[in-house]
């Protein structure tokens, strides 16, 4: 598994964890109407730990001869960026439309909701980027070997 794949796997794990935490927060705020402080703290610590592990995992080389990236990796990254960019465009347009229908054109939303929406869009972009890289490599193996 090369550096790009490792990075993509880390991105996938961090993104899914973040999205699950957001879902949990949403359930807490809307359905249960009660905040579980310990669970939230545990989730935030887990996310922080995963982010630190991501940085360590990327910075640490498996061997001194490990190649950073080659031309194929760069091509795969470029394609993944394009996929992520297109998905972000669609997602932002959909979010704007949904907001317009729910709140109305002259309506308002809470500032924390805007921040959360922007962060979710970012996380989805990261998710699409990671999945696009892994799909192109074939999910496993150094050169997509099956």
């Amino acid at each position: 598994m090369n550096k790009t794949q490792k990075s993509a796997w880390c991105g996938l794990v961090v993104t899914l964890t973040f999205l699950l935490l957001c879902l949990f927060l949403f359930i807490e705020l809307t359905i249960l109407k009660k905040m579980f402080f310990f669970m939230n703290l545990l989730g935030a610590t887990l996310l922080f730990g995963l982010l630190v592990a991501w940085v360590i995992f990327i910075c640490k080389k498996q061997s001194p001869t490990e190649v950073e990236t080659d031309e194929r990796d760069k091509l795969i990254q470029t394609r993944a960026i394009v996929a992520s960019f297109i998905s972000v465009g669609i997602l932002i347009a959909l979010t704007c439309l949904i907001l317009r229908f729910i709140v109305g054109i002259s309506g308002t939303i809470a500032v924390w909701e805007l921040t959360l929406i922007n962060f979710l869009i970012f996380e989805v972009a990261l998710l699409v980027y990671s999945v696009a890289i892994l799909v192109q490599y074939g999910w496993r193996g150094k050169d997509g070997e099956k």
């Binding site: 760069k74 990254q77 470029t78 960026i81 992520s84 960019f85 932002i92 979010t95 704007c96 907001l99 317009r100 709140v103 109305g104 054109i105 002259s106 309506g107 308002t108 939303i109 809470a110 500032v111 924390w112 805007l114 921040t115 929406i117 922007n118 962060f119 869009i121 970012f122 972009a125």
Partner: protein, 146 residues
Amino acid sequence: MNRYQKLAWFNLIVITATIIITTTAIAIEIHIRGYSTIGWWCFPAILALLKFKPFMFKKPQGQDKVICDERDTLIVKRASSFAYTTFWWVFIVSSFAVHIFMGMGPKSSVPTITLPLMAVGGALFMVIVCSVAILVQYGRRDKNHE
């Protein structure tokens, strides 16, 4: 100056002109008869010039004409990748900036138009960064090759 450089300069000139003319129009409007949304219409009207790029900078026709070489493609790819990364930084930082300027409390709110405006602002910023990155890379290369 090749086609990509011309396109980059055109982007920068149009966006700068849009910002200056829109600001001036709004300032004059406020000075004469008070604030209204008419001045803002200058923004999309001038920005629509960006859509005329394919007609103004046509690709060279014919089999012996070269559109771009590998170096041009690499420069554009690098610039686009850098611009995309910068876009996310600006998008996320602006989310927090809204949080800081509008207040941290649960009752502070923003109009729903903020999200599309942030997206348009981010896209414009991305075009500016991409154009500047293209020009800088060509400039640096030219100096090295002299």
